[in-house]
């Protein structure tokens, strides 16, 4: 394959393009879904192809094909070139790429157990064991356990001479239960909602979750939710659990610090960003204890890799430092616009998609609190658990998130449970109200495998390291 890509980039170089790169991606996937009745579905998928990106006359063209013969790659290269020339019809400002060290390297995800070598029987047994416990009460309507694995082989070759191979491994799993009393239904999940937790690790990651050990707890909580009070509508103190805070970081810091979005090139779908370049190094985004950074080298993070999809080596970049907005997720095209170098965040969700500025692992630095001490220190408030709903405006300012359940905090103790809890706010006001973050003992990197962006739609696999944190004067309730 390497020779085919080298030939294709040489062909384009000889055609006089400004720049071109070719990406071969082969993704082997397996997904398994089980309920208390048996296997709901199991499938394996092999997806292979090449994407060719061409910069000519200062404009981009991209073409991708599943046919990886030499003849097809030449045809696809010509197609990408003709698309670039068509793009140039409207060019007002030519694309300039930041200079980049040319790499020749091979990166592999470190893992202990290859999930594709683990027997189907073992995987089904683990999920079935958990589902059996989940179903063990009459109020339980449905149960589910699922696992997903991806083995990804990438080869990147550019006209600048880069040749980068990567072998990535992703694993994820989770369980969920729905309880019903005939009038309403409530769901609880473990270790996170919407499919569980995900990482660039092997099957050892699945084993570490101890799924059956948590089945009884979430079953009982789902049943308890059926008779729980609704969340009051008030302004109060909230503590967000780690997985929910991961989504808060994702939506209100990760997305608005994507430089392409801040420069207006995502308007047609996902919108813009209130964190525009004129606010860089000026905006007091959060309180002094808020430090958020993008780090594609975080061990095991779902957004961890060796190089991004335009050949930039994985790195750590501060986004928020002592509460101040100091950095962006960026690419070789967007970074020079603000006089910086790429942050190495250009990622495509497959061979057939154009790389875009995406999140990597966007992490909130841990603070100093033990969770028990933080709850004890809170006189009145609400603890929000796993995410259930999410919505944010097209500049990433007004957000509203809901969780599967919440608990009242009264005089430093967790009390009654609330159902359908929701909190809402304005991004910088919210982060400036953060007065406590739990320590590294409570810090975990949560993998989110479903970050949507771009046209055609792309789904990125990203992660967020978080520990529970406290926020003051937050509006909760909202749903009448």
């Amino acid at each position: 394959m390497k020779n085919k890509l080298l030939q294709t980039t040489k062909y384009l170089k000889d055609k006089g393009v400004d720049y071109a790169d070719c990406r071969f991606v082969s993704t082997k996937s397996e997904s398994l879904s089980v309920d208390h009745d048996g296997v709901e579905g199991m499938s394996r998928n092999l997806d292979v192809g090449v994407g060719i990106r061409v910069l000519a006359n200062g404009a981009w063209g991209f073409a991708a094909t599943a046919d990886i013969t030499e003849a097809s790659l030449k045809k696809t290269a010509n197609q990408a070139l003709s698309i670039a020339k068509a793009s140039a019809i409207t060019t007002k400002e030519k694309v300039v790429l930041a200079k980049q060290k040319v790499a020749k390297d091979h990166y592999r995800t470190p893992f202990k157990k290859d999930p594709f070598e683990i027997s189907t029987e073992e995987k089904i047994n683990l999920l079935s064991q958990a589902c059996k416990i989940l179903k063990d009460k009459k109020q339980i309507r449905t149960t589910n356990g699922q696992m997903t694995f991806h083995k990804i082989k990438k080869l990147f070759v550019s006209t600048e001479g880069a040749v980068i191979e990567q072998d990535l491994m992703e694993s994820g799993a989770g369980i969920e239960v729905v309880a019903s009393n005939g009038k309403e239904s409530q769901r609880r999940s473990y270790p996170n909602s919407f499919g569980g937790d995900f990482a660039t690790r092997g099957y050892e990651f699945i084993e570490s979750m101890n799924l059956p050990d948590h089945a009884e707890r979430i079953r009982e909580e789902a049943i308890e939710l059926l008779t729980a009070d609704s969340c009051p509508d008030e302004i109060t103190t909230v503590i967000l659990g780690g997985p929910l805070l991961a989504l808060q970081v994702h939506e209100s810091c990760g997305h608005p610090t994507e430089l392409d979005r801040a420069l207006g090139t995502e308007i047609s779908l996902a919108g813009g960003s209130f964190m525009t370049p004129d606010k860089l190094n000026k905006l007091k985004y959060g309180s002094d204890i808020v430090n958020i950074y993008a780090d594609a080298t975080t061990k095991g993070g779902l957004g961890t890799f060796g190089y991004d999809d335009e050949g930039v080596k994985a790195r750590r970049i501060p986004l928020i430092k002592k509460g101040k907005f100091v950095g962006y997720l960026s690419s070789r095209e967007t970074a020079p616009v603000i006089g910086r170098k790429s942050s190495g965040a250009m990622r495509a969700d497959g061979w057939n998609r154009l790389p875009l500025v995406r999140m990597v692992n966007v992490n909130l630095e841990p603070g100093s609190w033990e969770l028990d001490d933080l709850i004890k220190d809170t006189k009145k408030g609400i603890f929000f658990d796993l995410n259930k709903s999410w919505s944010i405006d097209d500049r990433r300012l007004n957000f509203q998130f809901g969780s599967e359940c919440a608990w009242e905090i009264k005089n430093g103790k967790l009390g009654r449970m609330f159902k359908n809890p929701v909190y809402t706010g304005i991004t910088p006001e919210f982060w400036n109200s953060c007065d406590a973050i739990c320590n590294k003992n409570h810090w975990h990197v949560w993998g989110l495998p479903n970050c949507g962006k771009g046209e055609p739609m792309q789904t990125a696999h990203v992660a967020h390291g978080t520990a529970p944190a406290r926020f003051r004067n937050v509006r909760v309730g909202v749903v009448k």
Partner: protein, 450 residues
């Protein structure tokens, strides 16, 4: 495009060597192109040639699924054998409904030669016209223009042979001033159905009218919801309530309410893939014929859509809403959601509003808060206006709504005669078709700064 004869022959040859008790092959081939523009120039311009081949094999009552995007005979045979191996490793599935049997499909014209032949240069020239219109109005503009052509085929060992070629074209246009933005979109099987000049003009006029927006405090207001706003709501209701899975879980607002009055008589919501108002398609991914399904008919709750498995579990028949086998654990899914039109004209609907808000579209709706009560939340975007004494007065800053849609739909005052197709996030084989709706009460719960 491989073409019906050649494609079916190739798939039949693979089917013929299967050692499974039953085998089904679902083929989806596509050539899709998308030109994206922002800051008044094209910044992303892509094309893709791809195909996926799904194998569902049955050994006894054990089912295996494997997928490849390679069309080489050896890879296809390998994937077929992988699916058989997966089936053998599984426990018996007591709910297996069997594969579908041959059926008659409605004859539909879903392919347009001109759309299939639309080139990158053609698309760039259309975008150039939109940019020129926006330049003239002194607005920057963003959006996208997509065209695609492809073919879908399903064959199985029961003798099903379904084939359909498709094309589609869609456009989004968002002009922007320093303080406002506007929006229009359209889609069709034929690019010639789309009036690009009109698209640009309407979006520009919305952007112009909403400049220097005023702040309105969140409260319950009368609203006029234009088709993209209604479609965004329907898209989420479809996701959380119209499919077989949420219904089975008891999490759909339809669960347990079949036959009960849940909205105004004026509300009828249904899935119909066979309508010319949709981007029509005759069969689902199991080869079952598409049927019309009412979720709400004249205010009375109906039921969900079904695939063969969900139908068997519920004692119903498939409604023709199966998804591809690799995603089938999520259950059946609606792909062509319609809200039935009324008799009103949009201009007359606005005239009848004493004090209220016109919403062009919503952004980032979410329906997971309390799906059993059809509670949605989301932000307005790209043209939100204050109406007073029957006239649009000025643009207002965006607002967040949080409300039960079925509760809000009890206050319907009028529904427009005209409907619009709105592209769906979820599907390449369907779309939303919605009218403008005038509601007496709609709850806005928050505000933002723009």
């Amino acid at each position: 495009m491989i073409g019906e004869k050649k494609l079916l022959k190739k798939l039949e040859a693979i089917l013929g060597v299967s050692k499974a008790d039953h085998t089904e092959i679902t083929f989806i081939g596509s050539n899709s192109s998308l030109t994206r523009y922002a800051n008044s120039q094209i910044h992303q311009n892509v094309a893709e040639n791809n195909h996926t081949v799904h194998f569902k094999t049955v050994v006894g009552n054990k089912i295996g699924v494997a997928t490849t995007n390679s069309m080489s005979t050896s890879d296809l045979k390998q994937t077929l054998n992988d699916s058989i191996e997966i089936a053998k490793q599984q426990p018996e599935n007591p709910h297996f409904p069997g594969l579908s049997k041959p059926a008659k499909y409605k004859t539909l014209n879903t392919f347009d030669e001109a759309t299939a032949k639309c080139s990158a240069k053609d698309r760039a020239n259309i975008v150039k016209r939109i940019i020129a219109e926006s330049d003239a109005a002194k607005f920057t503009v963003a959006g996208s223009l997509a065209t695609s052509h492809g073919e879908i085929a399903i064959i199985n060992s029961n003798g099903v042979q379904a084939y359909q070629p498709t094309t589609s074209a869609s456009v989004i246009c968002i002009p922007m001033s320093d303080t406002s933005s506007g929006y229009t979109s359209d889609m069709s099987r034929k690019i010639s159905d789309i009036d690009f000049d009109s698209i640009a003009k309407i979006a520009i006029s919305k952007c112009d009218l909403s400049q220097n927006p005023k702040q309105v405090e969140p409260d319950t207001y009368e609203v006029i919801l234009e088709p993209p706003a209604v479609a965004e709501m329907m898209e989420w209701l479809n996701y959380v309530s119209f499919g077989s899975k949420p219904y089975e879980r008891g999490m759909s607002f339809l669960s347990g309410k079949e036959g009960k009055k849940i909205t105004s008589d004026q509300i009828t919501i249904y899935d119909n893939a066979l309508s010319a108002k949709s981007v029509a398609f005759p069969f689902d991914m199991e080869g079952s014929p598409k049927k019309k399904v009412y979720f709400v008919k004249n205010g009375i709750a109906g039921g969900p859509v079904y695939d063969r498995l969900a139908a068997l579990k519920s004692g119903k028949k498939s409604t023709g809403h199966a998804v591809t086998p690799d995603e089938s654990e999520g259950g059946a899914f609606g792909m062509n959601i319609h809200v039935a039109p009324g008799n009103a004209k949009r201009s007359e609907m606005i005239k009848k509003v004493k004090k209220g808000i016109l919403v062009t579209r919503f952004h980032y709706i979410n329906g997971m808060i309390d799906p059993g009560n059809s509670v949605l939340t989301g932000m307005t975007r790209d043209g939100t206006f204050w109406i007073e004494n029957g006239e649009i007065q000025y643009g207002i800053k965006n607002l967040r709504f949080t409300d039960s849609v079925m509760k809000a739909f009890k206050s319907v005052k009028a529904i427009s005669k005209e409907t619009s197709r709105v592209e769906s996030w979820w599907s390449a084989v369907g779309c939303m078709n919605c009218p403008t709706i005038h509601l007496g009460k709609f709850r806005f719960s928050g505000k933002t700064e723009h």
